[in-house]
Symmetry: C2
């Protein structure tokens, strides 16, 4: 594995060929010999279009680098199957939105002879629509030393901004970042179609933020809220602050003289 | 008054030389002979810098066009003083965030021989920092026919996007647009400093939206929440939806098996 780009001889096995797995194949195809595994039907044509052969989990798990982009519900099962098939010296990387739980699972189930890096690309197909240069990725080294070279590759070959962190620090910050974005988006979506005509710049930004996450799979929201150990605190704080603000406002507006003008 | 630009001989009196009055002077100085009135001390140097003479309310009220950018608290008083001093055929325009109340006050207090247009520029000094071209302004004709020429001027000379509407339609839509932006900003500001490192694109947009309104004068929020007749419904709906979502989430997360992985 070189710093700037890898030889087409390095094999990359993508486990889970959904929206993110396909995005990864699109950007990593020129750097690796890519294959992918996914149990879902109907992926043949997109795989063909991307030039990625679909293979069994066992076969994909024998790659030099294994990228786990599997859904939350099958993560532990998938890791235990990779654990049996992977070869010594392999690099195993996951890409989930939450890091404490998956890092613990990978550390517990994978053999000592592989390197493990937990990552969270802070983007998805929606934000990567104009390319991934300058986008952010959080990296948590779990086992082995390959994170140094991976970080250099992500910076130099893909142009990503790399944030080195730990699963705990990641989840603490992501609980606020993703927790709040999704909570606000969910509340606003329930308010019905938002205005688009008489809008301010700040409201347009708010609408854009919401539209970026509103098509996320329900599992993403569930993962953020359920699997991030810090999500509950952030969620309850948000709702508590909203409630106390509501009470304050209603009482302030009741007691003060009604003012019919506005600026 | 020409369609494309006005002669320097048309006089414009700005009543209220705060942040918005100054912004107006900056963009209208080349089209009008501008003077301004403001009872606050300490405005001499900014007025000088903008080349705008400060004058009495009585003198400013004798202009061909009077722009009322006064704070909510003095709006009715200011309009009643303008009513005495303004000349026949004058055009009187306000620029507040709420339109039903101010339109009613202007219609009630101003003489029949002037034209009245209630407007809401959907921007402020913050969003106009890179110029005003393409920004939006809502216009509600209240009395007379000068709105046709005003709209043409705003479009052609200033490059604004003009939205013709009524005070009621404006306030109904603004209650959602401005009400939600300010409510969300206020709740998030109470959460403390927001993360800036491990952020997603959607969270960055959210943060930007908040930073645009967080320095608004407290009167702006008060005006939106108190003076917009539709604000209460929007506010209560937002808080009710937040509360019911909180209850739903807590119960869903309690009953379902804890899933420690995330994607």
């Amino acid at each position: 594995m070189n710093n700037n780009s890898r030889s087409q001889n390095t094999s990359l096995g993508i486990v889970g060929f959904g929206a993110f797995g396909q995005l990864a194949a699109r950007h990593l195809g020129q750097h690796f010999k890519v294959s992918a595994y996914d149990p879902s039907p109907g992926l043949a044509s997109v795989a063909k279009q991307l030039g990625v052969p679909l293979a069994s989990l066992r076969s994909v798990s024998q790659a030099d680098v294994i990228l786990i982009a599997a859904p939350v519900s099958s993560f532990e099962q998938v890791v235990s199957e990779i654990a049996i098939a992977c070869k010594p010296g392999a690099l195993i990387v996951d890409v989930g939105s939450v890091k404490v739980g998956p890092a613990e699972i990978m550390r517990r189930l994978l053999p000592k002879h592989v390197d493990i890096i937990a990552t969270h690309p802070l983007f998805g197909p929606q934000s990567a629509i104009n390319g991934i240069e300058g986008l952010k990725i959080a990296i948590c080294p779990i086992q082995g030393k390959q994170h140094v070279r991976l970080a250099a590759f992500l910076r130099n070959a893909l142009g990503l901004t790399v944030i080195m962190t730990t699963p705990e620090d990641h989840d603490r910050e992501a609980a606020v970042v993703q927790g709040l974005t999704h909570l606000i988006a969910k509340v606003l979506l329930r308010m019905g179609p938002l205005p688009t005509r008489m809008t301010t710049k700040s409201f347009d930004l708010l609408s854009e933020a919401i539209s970026m996450v509103q098509h996320d799979a329900p599992e993403v929201f569930e993962a953020i809220e359920k699997a991030n150990p810090y999500a509950g605190v952030v969620r309850r704080r948000f709702f508590d602050l909203a409630t106390s603000m509501s009470v304050e406002l209603e009482s302030a507006l009741r007691t003060s003289p009604h003012n019919k003008t506005g600026q």
